[in-house]
Structure formats: structure tokens, C-alpha cells
Amino acid sequence: MANQQPTSGNPRVDIEYRRKKSAEEMRYQVITFALMIFLTLVSFVAVGYGEFSGWFIVPFILLLAVVQVIFQLYYFMHMSHKGHEAPQIFLYSGAFIGAATVLAFMTVIWW
């Protein structure tokens, strides 16, 4: 394994494809970034506006945060790429256990 040479089948043919592919990916990432900024603006405005009730705002901005984080994970951190199966399993397991912790701390800590 240690001596494995990391070359793709035919680099010179690949190169055009790769260049196009990564340029395309970069475009997606810029779009993602624009969306993230937009979502952030929406949550700040929703809170800053001051007319909505907390019962609406809290779930709404939490939803926006989750969407934004998914963008971050799948585009910026490349979790949408192949070879991220194990990272996905472990990140979601962590998120699940974290969610259980948060739930417990908001319900059964005896206030």
C-alpha cells in the first residue's frame, strides 16, 4: 500500500475534464456562499424587525441555521463527494447524540 503511486489512468486526457470540473465546483461554491449570506441576512432581519413573535422566529432561524450548515458541510467541506461515507456516518451519529443531549438539558434537568 505504501508504494502505491497516485496517478489517475491518463493524466493528460484527464486534465481538461478536471479543470472544467473544478471550475464548475467553484461556481457552485460561490452560489452556496451567496445563499448562505442571504440566509444569514434573513435571520438577522427576522430578529431585528422586532414584530414577529418568538414562537415563529425561534424555529424559523433554527431552520435557516440547519440549512446553512448543510450547505457548509456538503459544498464547502465536500461531503457531497465520493469517499465521504464514513465521515457522514460519524458526523450524523455525533449530531444525533448531541441533539439528544440538548433535548435532555432542556427538559429533564429539574428546574
Binding site: 500500500m1 505504501a2 508504494n3 464514513a86 460519524f90 451519529s93 455525533g94 447524540i97 439528544a100 443531549t101 435532555a104 438539558f105 427538559t107 429533564v108 434537568i109 429539574w110 428546574w111
Partner: protein, 622 residues
């Protein structure tokens, strides 16, 4: 390798072990350090039993008793059971999957040294003003009021050794995912590897809450925060939750590898394929998952309310199902097998009824309403000793006998091994079985003495007699180890003659590169398959070539030492002027060592093909 090692002087050997990144040597370090802590924790247990042998005893004072009790639990869980399991994981798991080393040899060494310095720090408390005295659970309302530095030693020491465990867990996970030999699919992995995998995943997710809880404890006691102080708006129940979100998975981190060791032993000495392999894997994963959903069953009497209690009670009882699957699979593995009652097999057979007894009381305790009666009584003490001693310690002792030849190249004496077994088994049941009844008769947990004429004398005396038998059993084991090491009769690849998995296909102990050529795995019980077809060893999966190996390094020791020093600074910061500089200095040492590691390239070295060919008598064929 052994002839090579003997030529070196004592100092050189020490240096070799301090800088080693070889998983087999780190395993030996874990075995020695864990063994010493096991004996220390055992001594503490003896003091507890001597104090409780007769009513109104004054062998130790109440305060000292609290310290001994706390240190017994903390030492046994964090510094004995887990490191000893890590010893077997390190020694055996990479061999079982056909790897030349773990994924991160440097981090492997760092993990050990963090554990070692953390454990050392914790135990120095005995000489520096008193050990922690709030129980191994260290509930906040108790520990925040504890005078002296005992609890500080607890929080800082566990923080350091916990970081080591987390690193070890990640290392094992990556090793198992990335470093399996050709043909070693997930569903061909030996059960011990599977249980290492699941236990490591539990470590990854269970230790962060402990880290956070310990940070809060450190901040509250040493840096003026108010997490657990109700007068300042804090909440003492938070610690209980954080501790048990860690603490419950922790008991599965201990028991799953124990299950793994027993699965190997049952299959080996029944000379039969493990019954229901895939259901075993499934049950292991399911136990791992459910292990995270049940932590609050330790807190039924805290007052969480009937809904929470009901949910956690049902989830807890659900764990009995996958565990039951395992028990039946082991029984069916033995059924119709051609059983050899070697020492490891004796432990395995005795484990089943002992552990089931602990499981049954577990389901009793899981019944939230009934738990209000059992809570904080000796019934609980009996229960968890039945699962942890009857499960984990039995497995450790079985594993010691089973894997000793693979780790050291010589067999422990079977006769002495069986004496150890019988003494320990009888002593164990004498000690703990009666404690169920002591609990039901109303003897509370953690009391330092009891009054005469309350019907508790006989039970406690029997319990102490049992403890003495266990101590004698461990002494016999130590004698066995000394005799065996002095005789040093070398054994071949497969000393039990019934080895099924890859580790038995290579020499004992294996050469430092493990496999000269990586083996081709053709199914579950890879080595057994080849033997059945009449072959002598594994078929190689690659031509003989250069082997890449990592360099040794002293940096892990330096990094751990830095944290060890910093911990003293943090503890004495408020009372001594030198505290803060020492804290900062220690952290700097660690940071600089990390910086050095990052900046200095470490490409490792290659063992050349020609040298491997000359090494024929050692590497053997894959």
C-alpha cells in the same frame, strides 16, 4: 526481535519503550501500566473489605475510607480496565485485520503517555494532601464542597488521561476502516475487531461530554465559574447528566471488547465457527447504539419525572435483547463443539452464568419504580460488580492467558492458570453474591462502617473472605507470570493449535513489521480456512517488497509531561505565586512539542526487500 532486545542495556530498553510507536510494544506498556493500576485498585478494594469485615471497625477513618472508595472505583474503571483492554486491542486488533501497524503510530504512543501521566497525576494525590473523596461519580454538590485538592486531582488527572483515550479510539477506528488486508471485508472481521470498532466509536462520542463536564468542574473549583452552584444560578444536575452521558457508554466501552475476547475464545476452544456471526455483529452495533440512549437510568431518583423515567426504563430493558442474542450464540457455539477446557475457556464458560446474573439484576434495576428501593444500596454494588468483574475482569484474565503467548512468545503455566481461575471464581461469588442480600436488607452503598446486631455481620464477613480469595488468585497469577518469564520456553505461531484468525498465522511475538507480505483473506476465520485446506500458512496478497515503517519519537512523552506539569500549576494557582507560571510553562512545553511535530517532517523509513529475505526464519511466509 527478542535476541535483538536482549543485547541492549537497561537504559536503552527504557528509551526504546519511551520512544516506541510499535503497536505491540505500546500494548505491553498498556499491559504493565494497567496491571500496576489494577493491583493498586485491588489493594484499595482489600482495604474496603477489611474495614467492612466486622461492625464498628476502625481500620481506617471515615474520611480515608471515602478516599479509598473513590480511588478504587476511579482507578479500576479509568486506569485498569480500560488500559488493559487497550493493551489487547493494540496487541491483537492490527494483527487480526492483517495490518502492519495502526493508522497513527505516533498518536498511539501519545495516547498511552497521556493516560499514563494522567493516572500518575491522579495517584500522586495520596502524597499531596489527600485523594479525591466524592465517589467515582464525583457528583457536583458533593465534590464542590470537598476540601483540599482531592477533587482537583480527579478532574485534572481524568482530563489528561481521557484525552489519551479519545486519541486511541480515533486511531483504532481509522485503522479498522482503512488498513484491512486484501479480502478482509467488514463481515469477515473477527468479533474482537468488531467489538474494538464499536467500542472505539463509543469512545469517540462518549468522551467529549466527560471532557466538558470535567472542564466545568475544573472551572468551578479553580477558576471561579458557577456551573454547578445553585446560589449563582447554576445547576448541580447538569454534572450528573454530563457524567452519565459519558458514564453509561463507558460501561459498554468496557464490556464490548470483553464480549469480543470471549467470542474468540469460545470459537477457538469449541473448535467451531462462531454461531450466528452476523447476528453477533448486529447485536454489538445495537448495544453500542442503545448504550447512548439509557444514561438517565442512573438518575431515576433525581426527580426527572415519570415520563423521562419510563422512557429510559424501557430503553434500558431493550438492551437485554441484543445481549441475550449474544449469550445464546455463545451457548450454541459450544453446542456440539469439541471443547478443550483450557484456562481461557474456563473463564469464558464461567463468564456466562456470572454475567447473566449481573444482567438480570440490571433489568431489575431498570424498573424505575423498583429502583427507588434498590438505589444506593449494596444491591447496586452487587449488580455492577457482577457485570464488571464477571464480564470485564474475567475477560481480561482470560485474555491475559489466551494472548500471552502471542504478546510474549511463551505460554503461561496452565496448572497455575487453573488455580487462579478457581480461586478467583469462588472468591468472586463469595464476595458479591451475598451483597445482593445485604442491599435488600438495607445496607446503604458507600458507608464506612455498620452497627452490630442488624443482621449485617455474617454477610459482610463472607464478602471479605471472598475478597481475600480473589487477592490470592491474583498473586498466583503474578507468580505464574514470573515463573513463565524466567523459564521463557519459546512457542511457535499457533501455540493453542486451534487458532482461527490471522494473528495465529505469524510468529509469537510477531516481527516488528508484523506481516512480511500482507495475507490474502478468503473468509471469516481466515487462518482456520487455510488450515482446513491443508495449507501451512496464509497465501500472500502481494509480492515481497520494501516495507514502510514509522520513526520512533520522544515527543509524545514531552507533550504529556507538559500537560502533567500544567495541571500542577492550575491546581496551586490561587495559593502559590508559582502556580500561574507553571501552568503557562507546562502548556508551552506541550505546544512547543506539537509545533516541533508539525514543523519537522517525518517520512518514516523503509525496510528493504533484501533485509526481509535474509530474515526468513522470523517473518515466515505472511
Amino acid at each position: 526481535m527478542s535476541t535483538y532486545a536482549q543485547k541492549k542495556g537497561f537504559g536503552a530498553t527504557i528509551w526504546d519503550y519511551m520512544t516506541t510507536v510499535d503497536h505491540k510494544k505500546i500494548a505491553i506498556l498498556y499491559l504493565i501500566a494497567g496491571g500496576i493500576f489494577f493491583i493498586l485498585g485491588g489493594l484499595e478494594a482489600m482495604f474496603i473489605r477489611i474495614q467492612l469485615a466486622v461492625p464498628d471497625n476502625n481500620f481506617v477513618s471515615a474520611g480515608l475510607y471515602n478516599e479509598i472508595l473513590t480511588m478504587h472505583g476511579t482507578t479500576m474503571i479509568f486506569l485498569a480496565a480500560m488500559p488493559l483492554l487497550f493493551a489487547f486491542m493494540n496487541a491483537i486488533m492490527p494483527l487480526q485485520i492483517g495490518a502492519r501497524d495502526v493508522a497513527f503510530p505516533f498518536l498511539n504512543s501519545l495516547g498511552f503517555w497521556l493516560f499514563f501521566f494522567g493516572g500518575l497525576f491522579l495517584n500522586l494525590s495520596w502524597f499531596l494532601g489527600g485523594a479525591p473523596d466524592a465517589g467515582w461519580t464525583s457528583y457536583a454538590s458533593l465534590s464542590l464542597d470537598s476540601a483540599g485538592h482531592g477533587i482537583d486531582f480527579y478532574a485534572l488527572g481524568l482530563q489528561i488521561s481521557g484525552a489519551g483515550t479519545l486519541i486511541g479510539g480515533i486511531n483504532f477506528l481509522v485503522t479498522i476502516i482503512n488498513m484491512r488486508a486484501p479480502g478482509m471485508t467488514y463481515m469477515r472481521m473477527p468479533l474482537f475487531t468488531w467489538s474494538t470498532f464499536v467500542a472505539s466509536a463509543l469512545i469517540l462520542f462518549a468522551f467529549p461530554p466527560l471532557t466538558i463536564g470535567l472542564f466545568f468542574m475544573i472551572f468551578d473549583r479553580m477558576f471561579g465559574s458557577n456551573f454547578f452552584d445553585p446560589a449563582m444560578g447554576g445547576n448541580t444536575v447538569l454534572w450528573e447528566h454530563l457524567f452519565w452521558i459519558f458514564g453509561h457508554p463507558e460501561v459498554y466501552i468496557l464490556i464490548l471488547p470483553a464480549f469480543g475476547i470471549f467470542s474468540e475464545i469460545f470459537a477457538t476452544f469449541s473448535r467451531k465457527r462462531l454461531f450466528g456471526y452476523s447476528s453477533m455483529v448486529f447485536a454489538t452495533v445495537l448495544i453500542g447504539f442503545l448504550g447512548f440512549m439509557v444514561w438517565a437510568h442512573h438518575m431515576f431518583t433525581t426527580g426527572m419525572g415519570p415520563i423521562a423515567n419510563a422512557i429510559f426504563a424501557v430503553a434500558t430493558m431493550a438492551i437485554a435483547v441484543p445481549t441475550g442474542i449474544k449469550i445464546f450464540n455463545w451457548l450454541f457455539t459450544m453446542w456440539g463443539g469439541s471443547i478443550k477446557f483450557t484456562t481461557p475457556m474456563l473463564w469464558a464458560v464461567a463468564f456466562i452464568p456470572s454475567f447473566v446474573a449481573g444482567g438480570v439484576t440490571g433489568v431489575m434495576l431498570a424498573t424505575a419504580a423498583a429502583d427507588y428501593q434498590y438505589h444506593d444500596s449494596y444491591f447496586v454494588v452487587a449488580h455492577f460488580h457482577y457485570v464488571i468483574v464477571g464480564g470485564v475482569v474475567f475477560a481480561l484474565l482470560a485474555g491475559t492467558h489466551f494472548y500471552w503467548p502471542k504478546m510474549f512468545g511463551t505460554m503461561l503455566n496452565e496448572f497455575l492458570g487453573k488455580i487462579t481461575f478457581w480461586l478467583f471464581l469462588i472468591g468472586f461469588h463469595l464476595t458479591f453474591f451475598i451483597q445482593h442480600f445485604l442491599g435488600l436488607m438495607g445496607m446503604p452503598r458507600r458507608i464506612f462502617t455498620f452497627l452490630p446486631d442488624q443482621g449485617l455481620e455474617t454477610g459482610n464477613l463472607i464478602s471479605t473472605v471472598g475478597a481475600v480469595l480473589m487477592a490470592v488468585a491474583v498473586i498466583v497469577l503474578l507468580i505464574n507470570i514470573v515463573i513463565t518469564s524466567v523459564k521463557n520456553e519459546r512457542v511457535g505461531n499457533d501455540p493453542w493449535e486451534d487458532g482461527r484468525t490471522l494473528e495465529w498465522s505469524i510468529p509469537s511475538p510477531p516481527p516488528f513489521y508484523n506481516f512480511k507480505q500482507l495475507p490474502l483473506v478468503r473468509g471469516l476465520d481466515a487462518y482456520w480456512l487455510e488450515k482446513v485446506e491443508g495449507k501451512k500458512g496464509m497465501t500472500p496478497a502481494e509480492p515481497l517488497g520494501d516495507i514502510h515503517m514509522p520513526n520512533n519519537s520522544i515527543l509524545p512523552v514531552v507533550m504529556s509531561l507538559g500537560l502533567f506539569i500544567a495541571a500542577f500549576g492550575a491546581m496551586y494557582r490561587t495559593e502559590h505565586a508559582w502556580g500561574l507560571p507553571v501552568l503557562i510553562g507546562g502548556m508551552l512545553i506541550t505546544l512547543l512539542a506539537m509545533f516541533a511535530r508539525s514543523v519537522k517532517d517525518d517520512h518514516g523509513f523503509h525496510i528493504h526487500k533484501e533485509d526481509l529475505e535474509n530474515d526468513d526464519d522470523k517473518g515466515g511466509k505472511a
